[in-house]
Symmetry: C2
Subunit: 194 residues, 2 copies
DNA sequence: TTGCTTATGCGACACATGTTGACTAATCGA
DNA sequence: TCGATTAGTCAACATGTGTCGCATAAGCAA
């Protein structure tokens, strides 16, 4: 990720072990308490080697969570905006199920002691995804006087805000309801404006 | 803040110097590069004394920005929801002016290398403010089937998302337009639901 | 003023961090 | 298969981190 050839199988093995280790540790303890030393021990990699791949814990966490970020962005991209109001579309429902199943990790990532980098990355991916979706002339009617990127950033922030709030509270249960509540708000901002 | 009497004038002086120092440093460099040592030097306070007031840089940053958080929450609380669509209410316009004037600091705080604690604190204050506003029977019509706290968390996240996106880009200019765009989206989610 | 309380300064400690240079060994190209 | 390349290990260093005990002096109550 920094000074090594990413194609080298040795580097790939090392990075896979580092990502697995950081996810293990993130499930066990607060992000801020995860040290590079502990990470190296857990991954059974020399401490100096870690710095060859990632400059800090935050970068490693964000890289390890890239799949999760992609899943969230995909859910926003696939959500059919013309679906009925009283039932959350499947991609959204599945997203909330996924977050529910990993509520501890998401609460840690998006909470006060979480990773600003992960949150920013998720907002960024969501904003890009929604901007692309709105750009191709498929803009919901009535919002032409709102810049596309602001509209996208608004919705991206809203989703991250709801996920953070919901994962922080007991949250774990009732993914269905949370998904439906978010869907009603999200849907209203993606259809004809008042 | 931890083990000292907050009323003691000596402690108040020390904390005031620490808050001033961290805001100075935050205007000069990235948050992640601000060390407790540099902070102590800049504030002309012994390094060990810093730990008597704040456990880490993040806590100090968040405390120093508490006024800003309160200002953002107040703007959301004072915003008249029945104002016309084509002009942002004064509290909102002033908020965006303020963020514009301090775009560098806000971009640092809410960006990838920013403070998760500050962002979480701002969302939390906004969510509480909006929940209180919606709770007293003053709920916008048509949203009764969306839990109040989810509705509040949605809007809080949306505002933080727009501020982060806007402060991150050139952002500095055009506070008026950004405020208006956000107002149109915000207003739609605070009035009669479709 | 006098005496008690306590915030701060100071030096020291063990530990984590980020970096460096030399050595080892895995990988790849010819 | 052999040689060149390079990821990884290891030891060491300067610096930052948190914490401690003790001394000093600022603040407060009498």
């Amino acid at each position: 990720m920094i000074g090594v050839n990413s194609d080298d199988p040795r580097a790939q093995r090392t990075r896979a072990r580092l990502k697995a280790a950081v996810l293990e540790l993130a499930a066990e303890q607060e992000l801020a308490t995860i040290t590079m030393s502990a990470l190296a021990r857990r991954a059974e990699v020399n401490r100096a080697t870690v710095y060859l791949h990632y400059p800090d814990v935050d970068s490693l966490v964000t890289d390890a969570m890239e799949d999760a970020v992609a899943a969230v962005a995909r859910a926003a991209a696939l959500c059919p905006l013309d679906a009925p109001r009283d039932r959350a579309p499947d991609p959204l429902a599945e997203l909330f199920e996924h977050v529910s199943a990993n509520a501890t990790v998401y609460a840690r990532m998006l909470g006060p002691h979480g990773s600003a980098r992960f949150a920013a990355r998720m907002r960024e991916r969501l904003t890009a995804e929604l901007t692309g979706r709105f750009a191709g002339g498929r803009r919901p009617p009535g919002w032409e006087d709102v810049p596309v990127d602001v509209h996208a950033a608004y919705l991206a922030g809203a989703l991250v805000g709801v996920l953070a709030h919901w994962a922080a509270g007991e949250g774990g249960d009732r993914a269905e309801e949370a998904a439906l509540a978010f869907w009603r708000l999200f849907r209203a901002a993606c259809r004809s404006a008042p």
